[in-house]
Amino acid sequence: MRLLHTSDWQIGKVFRFADDDILPVLQQERLEAIGRIGRLARAQGAECVVVAGDIYDHLRPSERTLRQPVERMRQFPDLRWHLIPGNHDFNERDGLWERLARTGLPDHIVPHLAHAPAPLDAAGTAWVLPAGLGHRHVIGDPTAWMDGTATPEGAIRVGLAHGSVRSFGEEAPGHNLLAIDRARQAGLSYLALGDWHGAQKIDARTWYSGTPEVDGFDLGGAGGGQALLVSLDGPRAEPVVESHAVGRFRWARAQAVLTCADDIVALEGRLRAIDPDDPSRVLVWLAVSGALGLSDLEGWQARIVDGLGSALRLLRIDGAPGLAPSSDDLDAFGPGGAVRAAAETLARQAGEGDEAARAIAAAALQRLYLLARDGAGGLA
C-alpha cells in the first residue's frame, strides 16, 4: 500500500515580520499546500494521507481558520485523511478537536484522539497506531504504548506521532520525547513523525516529513516544502520513501559584507539566483555589515533595498552598511558654502561618538547628499 506522510501544516500561523500585504499570502499558501498534497497522493496512487500533528498553529483558532483545512480535505473524498493532535493543537478537553467534531467531519477525515489502533485503509491491510498529544508538553514517551498494543495478524503497523526523537538543550528536557527506535521496539512498518519542520530520515522506518510549506528561515533537515510518499509492501518489508516538493515559497538566509560597489553587485546577483524564474517566491533574511562611500550607499539603497526589496516576496535586512565618506564624496557638495560645511560636520560626527549617534549622523549625511543633489539638479 501507499500513503502520503505530512505534518506541521500550522494553519493560521502569524508571521510577525510580515507586513499586511505579505502575511495573507503566506497564510493562504499554507492552505494551498493541502490541495497540492491531495493531488500528489492521487497522482501517486496513495490511499491515505497521515498528518503527524500540528495541523493548526493555534490551540484556539477562529471558526474560519478551524474549518478551512477541513474544507480543503473535503475536496478529496477518495483519500482517507488521518489526523493526530500535535503540541500546537493538542487535544485539550473542550478544545479544538471537540469543536472540530461538532462541525461534523466527513467520514474520510479521521481524527485520532485516543491511543488506540485503527484501520488505516478501508481494506484493513494496514492499521495506524496514533499517538496524538493531550497536552502541549507530555511527560514520558507518548508512543510507549505502541509496544504492547496488538493489531490484527498480518496487518501493516503504521505509527503516527508528534514529538522529538532527541532533546534540544535544557529548556524542554524530555518533553514529548520519543524513543528513537520506537519503530523497531513496537514492530512498526513505518513511524510517521511530525514536529520537525525540515524533512528528516531517522532510520529506514522512522521519518519526519517536515512542513509542506516552509514557515521559517532555519528549518534544518532537508528544509521544508516536501511531503513523503511511503510505499509499504508488507508488514516486514522496508518502506520505500520518496520526497516530493509541495511547497511554493523559498526562504533563505544571506550574509554580506559590503565595502565597495562590486560587493553590492555580487550580492544582488546572489540573491536573484535563488529563484531566477520567479523571485517573488523568495523570502530573504539578509544580515549586512561593512562600510560604503556616499555614492555606493546610494547604490545599495537603489539596487538592494529598493530594487531587490521589490523583486522578492520579502527582504528582511538586519544591519546596514556603514558610511565611510571619502574626500571625493565631500567634494560632491561643492568646494565651499554652507552645505559643504554641514556635510563636513556630519562626516565628522559619523566617525566619532557612540554607535547610535554615528549611525544617525551617517544617515543624515546620506540624506544631505541626496537633497543637495536633487536640489542642484546634479552635483556640482
Binding site: 502569524v14 493555534h58 478537553r93 561643492g334 554641514a342 540624506r367
Partner: protein
Amino acid sequence: MTGGMILRGLEVEQVRRFGDAVRLTGLGPGINLLGAPNEFGKSTLLAALRAVFLLPHGSKARPIADLQPYGGRGAPRIVVDFTLDGGDWRLEKRFMRRAFARLEGGGERLDGDAAEARLQDLLGVEAGKRGAEAMGLLNALWVTQGQSLVQPDLSDPARATIRSCLEADLDAMTGGDAAGRVLSRVTADLAVLLDGRGNPRGRFRAAKEGEQEAAAELARLETRRQGLEDDLNAMADLRRRLAHEDDADRREKERANLAEAGRVRDRLRDYDARYRAARAVRDHAAAQLAAVRQDLAGRAAWERDLAAGTARVAELEAALQAAQGAHDAAGAAHAARLEAVRVADAGRQAARRALDLAAGRVERARLVRERREAAAALDRLDEAARAVTQAAAELDACTIDDARMGAIRKAERALDAARAASRAQATTLDVTLADGARGRLVLDGQALESGRIVVTDNAVLRIEGIGTIRIEPASHGRDALRADLAGAEEVLRRALAVAGCADIAGAEAALAARRQAELAFQAARTVLGGLLAGADQVPATAMEAARRRLADLDVRIARIGEADDGTDDPLAVLEAARKAMEAAEARYDAAHRALLAPDETMRRAAEDLARLRAEWQVARDGAAQLARDLEAARAVEADEALSARLAAGHEAAERAEQALVRIEETRPEGTEALADAAIQRLERTIQDGHARLAALRQEMAAREARIRAAEGDGLDERIAAQERLRAAHAAEDAACVREVAILQCLRDAVAAAERAATERYLAPLARAIQPALGALFPRAVATVEADFSISALSRRIDEPFVNLSDGTREQIAVLARLGLADLMQARGRPAMLVLDDALTYADSGRLDRMFDILTEAAGRLQILILTCRTELFTGLGARRLAVEPVGGEAAEGH
C-alpha cells in the same frame, strides 16, 4: 553720483485727493525734501510711487483700491521719470478702468505685461502673488509713515537680493541658496512627523497610538484568554466533581443507610408505644389502690369525729344549765336597783322645789331696794334740769355782751377824735360881754355868754341892735370834718341802740348784770353734769332712761309675786334649801351607780347563755349528720367489702409494675431523636447530592457556553495577529524616531553651517552700516542677524534692540536702510531711500549727526524726505520739492 537710481519726476492723476493731474517737481540727485503740512498728500505720493513701481497694472488689490479718488470711482494714473544706471526711463501706469502699463527708455517702448516684466527685471524684484506688491528690497527702503521705528521687514526675495549682493562679493561663497533649500526641505519633512511643539504627528503619531492601542487590545485579549483558561480548568474540575457526585454505588449506599435508619427509628417508636401503655396500666392500678386506701381512712375518720361530737354535746348541755341560773339571779338584782333609783329621784325633785322658792324671796327684796334708789335719782335730775333752764333764761334776757360793749367804746373814741379835729379847725370867738349886753349877742339864734365860742360852721351872729355878722370859718375840709363828726355820732347812737342802752353808763351796768347771770348758769350746769352718766348725755335722755329702769323694776317685782309672810330670813332659808338639795342629789347618784354595776354581770350571763346554746346546736347537728353519712356509706359498701377491695388493689398494682419492668428490658439502643437526626442527615445528603448535581450541570453548561463563544473568536489567533500588529507599529515608531533624529541632526548641521556662513558674508553689511553707526553712536557695534536685522547695539554692554529708546531705534532703523541701500548701490542694484516723517524723535545733536550721515550718503544715492516739520530739516541743504498742477500754477508744499 555714479549709476544708481534717480527719480526725476512723479505725476499723479485721479489718486485720492489729487483728482486733476499734478506733478512733483524739483527732483534731482542727492537729498530731496518735500515739506508740507498734514493732509497735503505726502503719503499719497509715496503710495503712488510704490504702486507704479511695485504693483502690476492689472491689480485690483487693496493698495490700488485705496488709491482711488475720495468719494468716487476713478482710474488712478501715475507717471514716473527716472534714471537707472545712466539711462532715462519713463513709466506710466493706469489702474482699475482701462488699466495699462508702458515703459519707455533705452530706445525701447514696452506695453502691458512686457513692460511689467522689464520693470521687475530692472528693479530686481519678483512679481507678487495675485496682484500684490512685487517683492524686493525696494519695499523695505521706501518707508511709509509710522514704520520708521521698526527695522525693514524683509521678504524672502528681499533677503535673496541682499544675499546675492553679499555673495557677489565673495566668489568662494556658494551654496547659500542650496543650504536654504535643504533646510526648508528638512524642516518640511520634520513638520510631517512633528508638530509645532515637537510632538509626534502624522504617521509617527499613528505609529505610537497604534502601538498603544495594539498593546491595550492585546491586554484585553490576554485577559480573555486567561478567562478561557480559567473556564477550561474550572470545567475539568467540574467534571471531576460531577463524576464523584454521579457515582451510582455511593448513591445506592446512601439510600441503604437511609432505609436502615428508618427501620431503627420504627423499632424505637414501637417500643415507646408499648412502654407508654404499660406505664399507663401501672399508673392506673396505683391510682385504684390509693383510692381504696383513701376510702378506708375516710371511714375511720368519720367514726372518730362522731364520738367526739357526741361527747361535746353532753358537755355543752351541762354548761348551758349553769349559765341559765346565773342569768336569772342577775335579773332579780337589777330590778331592785331600779326601784332604789326611782325613790331617790322623787326626793331630789322635792328638794329642788324648796330651793327655788327660797331663791325667789331673796330676789324680790333686792329689787324693791333697787326701785327706791332709782326713784330718788330721777327726782334729783329733774330738779337740776329746771335750775339750768331758769339760769339760761336769765342770761338770754341780757342785751349786751363784751362784743357790743367793745363796739360802743370804739364809737365813743371815734366821736371824740372827730370832735377834736373839728375844734382844731374851727373859728374861735372869745366873747366878753359887756355888762348888760347879755342877750344881745345872738349866734344862730342862741344868745352868747362870755367865754370862748368855737364856730365850726357858717354862723350868723346877730348883735342886737347892730345887725348880723355872718361868720364863715375859713378852714379847709370843713365839710368833711362836719361829715365825719356826724358819722361818728351816728355810729355811737346805733351801737347803743343795738345794746339796748340809752347811754354808755347804762351799757356798763348792763354788762355787769350779764356777768352775774353767766356765773349762775355755769353753776346750774355743773350740778346737772354731775348727775348725768357722761359728758355728752342729754338730760332728757338720762331722765327717760331712769324712768324706763323704774318701770322695768316694777315689772320684775310683779313677776316674783307677792311676798309671803316671810318672817324668816330669806337668805337663811335659801341656804337650808340648798343643803337639802345637795343631799338629795347625792342619794340619787348613789342609787344610779348601783343600777349600773349589776348591768355588766347581766350582759355577760346573757352572752354566755346564747353562745353555749349555739355551740350546742352545731355540735348536735354535726353529730347527727356524721351518724347519717356513716350509715349511708356502710349501706353502699360494707366494711368487709372495702377490705376486700383493698386486697385486690394491692394485687393489681403489683402485676402492672412487673409488666412494666418486663417491657423496659426489651428497650432498643439509641433514642428516637438520634434516629431522626440520622434520617434527616441522610436525606439531606441525598437531596444535597441532587442539588449539587444540578448546580454542577448548570455551571458546566454556562462554562461550556462561554468556552465555545471564546473559542469561536479564535483567541490565540487574534493574540498572535495583535502581537504582530504591535510589533509592526513599534517598528514604524522606531523608524520614525530614527527619521526624526536624522532630520534633526541634518537640520542642526545645515543650520549651524548656514549661520556660520551668514556671519561670514554678513560682514560687508556690517561694514556698510558701521561708519554711519560709529558716527552716530561712537564706539558702538551693531549685531546683525542672519535675517539682516539688527538685534542689538553693543556700546559698553549689549543692548537688545527692543530695549533701546524710540529715538535710538528709529535712528538705527534709518541707518539699517541706509546700509542696505548702500550695499545695493555698491553692487550696481537700483537703490533709493524714501523717509516719510522719519527722525522726529531725534534730539538736535543726533539730528545734526544724522544730517551729516544723510548728506554723506546722498553723494551716492538719492534720498527723498517727506515731512510736515520742515523747520527741522532747514539745516540739511536739501532740494525743495513742489507739487504743481500739470500745466498750472505751482503749489509748493512749504
